[in-house]
Symmetry: C2
Subunit: 423 residues, 2 copies
């Protein structure tokens, strides 16, 4: 009556998905649109940074040799010969005890070799000032190439383009940047009990919350998804839709329809099209029926119809896969240790995921179950910013135990999946 | 010669900014566009969840009374009288040893009170199955209202609309949601040394990296900014632009022009328009000259022109202020304890910010300086996902020391600023 399924460990399941994930093609986009994408090429310094010796302070550029012997009792006077705001340059050669009035960022003329900060000087009049201490060569000067030299690697390929990367693209003159294309993603929920958000509830029906949730999980990653609806449990109709989807999309995310129910038709769809089923049972709760299959070059994520299982299934499998498509290097959500903030006594033969409310209190990260905890729970997802991962085994857990938590609200990631077969 | 400035503590500076920040007006938007905004109203359950007793499993709905006495030696048989996929309901009244074939999510007919999972049954033929254990009332049934009851608070106002909140909006039928408007933000850099990204570098000039960086910091918050350029250091021209900006925008972010240089004209702009200067010196490095002023209802963030100082100044002051405008409750970036991954021996009279590379390794969060560390550094920003905060004092820090780190890559936050006057 029910399809025979062999559960595999989460780490194995994640590895299978990633192994079958390919990067999308590379495209060139405007650098101001690149936030949230990943560099498809290494970013090298194409010039020294700074490109010239520049003043690190507002003050006066002098010849340090002229400052030798200066002290409180022996103030040395300088005469200002020219003013240099940032962006202005001078080829004037300083003579003894002459100085440029110079602003932060301005090029140091070759005849000067130290900068006196305004605060280190005393004005006599508009063009005359004195100092009370000697200056060393290069004092208050940012030296050419001190940050990066031409040819050095600045940001490696596969790095998330964060605001700092955008600043570097600007610095090195890259108005265009090469990135992997956004994968085309389709989302749809199965189940004839589902109503749309503004439909009036009728007996036995519920509103579809999985589709908008996944759309938002994708938005969090910068991806706009195309939504499909099949308000049918008719196999023929679903087969027809799938034919279209797998030719048009890189990723098809479905919710529901992968369990053992009479109307769970996705296993039949995979079989009909001879899709390669990477797994159809994972040793985890909730969401053990999560199925991932590959058809041509399209990855089919068959998530559970239970909201909580659907949520963590997306974060666990679909997110790293999509980040790999985007060319990302650190594609896995960080998994950190936290102190359990409340008991969780339910024992489980499988690794258990619990939506968690994380609190950074003092030096300790506390993770507490975010409320009602059943696979069909939806309210707790709203309060969660992480997922507690309790290892399989018969014992429950109590407040104060150290547990692992997958962070779901960070853009940083890790290059390898941080669970092991022991978790 | 230089404006007299009194440095205030960072905590005081942040408090002044937030005190002078007002929420924007409320607007109603489509719930599918609401990811990343904040709820402007409490979200209450407008119906029980679940709304009806429903099957938690695929199996058979029975009268538990009929299962009394079942055992391996005494299997009890049931006859299937109707099939109930999710969404279908039945008013049929079960007679003795009759059952519904029922799928997960389907309404439990009133005459049934327990569900036998497929795996707990043995099929005799298409309409007949047996069980080997008794069932209790409500076994494998999700009870009406067990997750939330009508009238309960589900998500409080001020909460970030994450994918879970969107799922709840869907569940309770809110196709529209009330949120605070996106503040109108203008960004501009000052300094006649600045070139645009695709300009050829000429002597003494650099490309403007602060504007694109801030645009991306705003994008990370879901805000599209309007960019202004003033390639002039002429006061009259800047005054004219500011008049327009302060009438059109809620927030004006400038970079550069707030220090003590001859061309640092923003203090003159604030004075000319009689803006309320909240502070113009903060006891921190880099970015001590960071200035925030208020003119009518516009907040003017005068960030340092040094990229590193500009970056942390934005995260420290502009970000929480903008999140408050959006109606956010947890507006401050989490500040957590981490283990310093490398020495940072430079002593400093002021609190010191260092762009940090965070690594979640095992149970420990390591924070290491993200490379070249001067206020004019731009490359280290690309590698940072946090900011190390070293307290003022004469001593340096060594690898292994516990330090505080402000996380800059998370959407979660805290309701109060986690630094104190002791930091």
């Amino acid at each position: 009556m029910t399809l025979q399924r062999t559960p595999i460990h989460i780490t194995d399941a994640v590895a299978r998905v990633i192994k079958h994930t390919k990067e999308t093609k590379i495209e060139t986009i405007d650098y101001l649109d690149s936030y949230g994408r990943f560099l498809a090429e290494d970013l090298y310094a194409n010039e020294d940074l700074p490109l010239f010796n520049k003043s690190a302070m507002d003050g006066f550029a002098i010849r340090s040799v002229d400052s030798i012997g200066a002290s409180g009792d022996n103030r040395i006077a300088f005469k200002v010969v020219e003013e240099l705001p940032a962006g202005k340059t001078s080829d004037y050669t300083l003579k003894e005890n002459e100085a440029f009035r110079i602003m932060t960022g301005a090029e140091i003329p070759t005849s000067a070799d130290a900068v006196v900060m305004f605060e280190q000087s005393k004005a006599i009049d508009d063009t005359l000032f004195t100092i009370r201490k000697p200056f060393e060569p290069n004092d208050n000067i940012a030296m050419r190439g001190e940050e990066v030299k031409t040819g050095e690697l600045v940001v490696p390929k596969g790095t998330l383009i964060n605001p700092g990367v955008v600043a570097n693209l600007a610095t090195f003159g890259h108005g265009k940047v090469r990135v992997h294309q956004l994968p085309k993603v389709a989302v749809m929920s199965t189940g004839s009990e589902l109503l749309d958000v503004e439909d009036k509830l009728t007996r036995g029906k519920i509103r579809n919350s999985n589709t908008p949730m996944i759309i938002s999980q994708l938005k969090r990653m910068g991806i706009e998804a195309k939504v499909y609806r099949f308000k049918t449990d008719e196999l023929d109709e679903i087969l027809e839709i799938f034919k279209e989807l797998t030719s048009d999309f890189d990723v098809v995310i479905t919710t529901g329809g992968v369990s053992v129910g009479d109307y769970d038709l996705l296993p039949k769809v995979y079989a009909h099209y001879d899709a390669e089923v990477l797994f159809n049972k994972v040793a985890m709760r909730p969401g053990s029926v999560t199925t991932v299959a590959k058809l041509n070059d399209t990855l089919l994520f068959g998530l559970s119809g239970n909201p909580s299982a659907c949520y963590s299934g997306f974060e666990l499998f679909a997110r790293p896969s999509i980040l790999k498509m985007l060319g990302g290097k650190n594609i896995y959500a960080p998994i950190v240790e936290a102190t359990l903030g409340a008991d969780s006594k339910k024992a489980n033969p499988f690794t258990r995921f619990i939506r968690a409310e994380l609190e950074y209190t003092g030096g300790t990260l506390y993770a507490s179950p975010a409320g009602f905890n059943k696979s069909n729970a939806v309210t707790s997802i709203a309060r969660s910013n992480g997922v507690i991962i309790l290892p399989s085994g018969s014992r429950g857990f109590v407040a104060g135990d150290q547990v692992k938590v997958m962070l779901t609200d960070v853009t940083s990631g890790t290059p390898s999946f941080l669970l092991t077969e022991d978790d």
